[in-house]
């Protein structure tokens, strides 16, 4: 494997996103949402203005969990199928580059664009709030940003996998939307439904493990468990064994959500 080839593809993907202002647009969306949530997040409780970082992060988590998977899927769904459909894939593959290098280059470039806009967008907010945050709060906020990047990378990996499997761009975009619906909206409902239908008889023990089968849930647990104010608010402690809530373990699970779809994609893309 030649790193230089991966870097060439990755830097083209990254600069393409910088030049067409994709990175800027996404970063601004994140900044705007984060600021609005930080200042108005507690409006329901009858007050306006920044209150606590825990509440802010908890609100941001519920937003990001919808937004980032969608952005990542939209970013990555045509990575390969787009080149194939436009007709530029053959020329790329005729270069001294392996298919794996091409795939990784695409992924790394897109992931860098997504990570950059996430960190820039939320980082700007951290700077704005910095006078009101102590070190501990900053640490939590930093954890939130990092896990947001991981969440994006996991869904980007899924998107690139779809992009290898799909026969054309239309189908790839359909699959991307379906993936979003499944992991972000349907998955938790299914688990909840199973719990309710069986009157809590089924699945109590394996539920926490089932949550790991969804990167969006892993992201939620990662963030919520580290915040004392919020843990009780969400009532998560009651269903989730603390042993599983180790951030390193959850980080590893997230990493698996990045590596496995990419691995499947490269297996499928090898010829």
């Amino acid at each position: 494997m030649e790193i230089a080839q991966i870097a060439t593809i990755a830097s083209k993907e990254f600069w393409d996103r910088i030049r067409n202002r994709w990175v800027l647009a996404v970063a601004l969306v994140f900044t705007a949402f984060a600021l609005v949530i930080a200042y108005f997040g507690a409006a329901q409780q009858g007050s306006v203005g920044f209150r606590s970082i825990d509440i802010t992060i908890a609100s941001l988590v519920s937003l990001v969990i919808y937004l980032i998977p969608l952005i990542a899927l939209v970013l990555g769904f045509d990575a390969i199928v787009g080149e194939r459909e436009r007709g530029s894939l053959d020329l790329l593959l005729s270069m001294p580059i392996t298919r794996l290098e091409l795939l990784l280059g695409k992924y790394v470039g897109l992931a860098a664009a997504l990570a950059f806009s996430t960190i820039a967008g939320f980082g700007l907010v951290a700077i704005v709030l910095s006078t009101r945050l102590d070190l501990n709060a900053l640490y939590h906020y930093f954890g939130f940003m990092l896990s947001s990047v991981l969440l994006g990378c996991a869904f980007l990996s899924l998107a690139v996998m779809l992009s290898v499997f799909a026969a054309d761009r239309t189908r790839a975009s359909g699959l991307a939307i379906a993936t979003w619906f499944f992991f972000v909206l349907v998955f938790d409902l299914l688990l909840l439904g199973a719990l309710v239908v069986t009157g809590g008889q089924w699945g109590g023990e394996i539920f926490p493990y089932l949550l790991l089968a969804n990167p969006a849930d892993v992201f939620r647990i990662l963030n919520i468990f580290s915040l004392d104010d919020v843990r009780t608010l969400y009532g998560l402690t009651t269903v989730f064994p603390p042993a599983l809530a180790n951030p390193w373990l959850l980080g590893l699970v997230m990493l698996a959500w990045i590596v496995v779809p990419l691995g499947i994609a490269s297996w499928r893309f090898r010829t």
Binding site: E2, G87, L91, S94, P96, T271
Partner: protein, 313 residues
């Protein structure tokens, strides 16, 4: 970048060898048992209808598509083998209907491909100049015409001084002047020892410009050789157009009466004579004996198109 491939610079030696190559998609036999032997330094034309299997064969030669059976070697190395990177670095490819990146400028496009090929980006500007695009170097490909895109695609293939060029329908979208300058570049490259494989369905365009051709129909190579070899193989008749005064028509007819002539047709101011190739010189001698009554004489050899239809019918 120096190549480690052994036979690459050996003019006249076998360079690209295809052996029993097949590509089947279910019941469709896109390429159906092709043997080819393309020699170092030659300009080789692959001709055939759209859908004859030329592009599929091309993609297999480049290792973009695995073959169902058979193998293809470039300079002795399998195109899909471990040495593929070394092979690729010696090859330039212009796909049919090349698609480049609209958001990049011409210069940026070449920088990108130069990096992938491991070539210095400093090669980009002179290469653009070589294909006549220096004036558009800083313009985005989005604004390029079809012909300019095609030339940029050609420029990309020329990066890194490849020893072998695979050009799939390279003159599509080019105006006659650009076609001319394109072939003059090819001749120049040939004099530098570059081997070129070119496909085309515009037969008139390549017949005088390639060293050897292979005719493909329905996934098979029907014939290969120089255009002259193929003319002889199909043994198509030639046409003489003999310009004479009307009162001399009979003289021509009787001068040719004892020869093996297929047909003699009288027109306004000339006689058309159709004969087999082996009678050609005898006909010319007989006409020469007509003591200046023949005012002009043209011989029409069967064109590549005639040859092509001779093979594909």
């Amino acid at each position: 970048m120096e190549s480690s491939l052994p036979t690459l610079n050996d003019a006249g030696a076998s360079l690209i060898v295809a052996h029993g190559v097949r590509k089947h998609y279910g019941n469709i036999h896109a390429v159906d048992g092709v043997d080819l032997d393309i020699r170092s330094g030659e300009l080789f034309g692959l001709i055939g209808h759209n859908g004859a299997g030329k592009s599929t064969l091309f993609k297999m030669m480049l290792g973009l598509l695995p073959s169902t059976a058979g193998d293809i070697r470039i300079g002795g190395a399998l195109v899909t083998g471990r040495d593929f990177r070394a092979v690729r670095r010696t090859v330039g490819y212009l796909p049919e209907n090349v698609v480049l990146y609209d958001n990049l400028t011409g210069l940026e496009t070449l920088w990108f491909f130069a990096r992938l090929k491991g070539v210095s980006p400093a090669e980009a500007a002179p290469t653009l100049e070589r294909v006549g695009l220096a004036h558009a170097a800083k313009r985005r490909v989005r604004e390029y015409s079809k012909g300019m895109r095609q030339r940029l695609g050609f420029a990309q293939a020329l990066l890194g001084k490849p020893r072998i060029l695979f050009l799939d329908e390279p003159t599509t979208g080019l105006d006659p002047e650009a076609i001319r300058s394109f072939y003059s570049t090819l001749r120049q490259l040939r004099s530098e020892g570059v081997t070129t494989v070119i496909t085309s369905h515009i037969l008139a365009e390549i017949q005088e410009r390639v060293d050897r051709i292979a005719i493909m129909t329905a996934g098979k190579v029907q014939a290969r050789g120089t255009v002259q070899d193929l003319r002889e193989q199909v043994d198509l008749p030639l046409w003489f157009s003999v310009r004479v005064a009307k009162e001399d028509f009979e003289a021509v007819r009787s001068a040719l009466s004892h020869l093996q002539v297929d047909a003699i047709e009288a027109h306004d101011d000339h006689v058309k004579v159709r004969c087999r190739r082996e009678a050609k010189m005898a006909v010319i001698e007989a006409l020469a004996r007509l003591d200046g009554r023949v005012r002009d004489l043209t011989v029409r050899e069967p064109s590549l198109e005639d040859v092509f239809f001779g093979f594909s019918d």
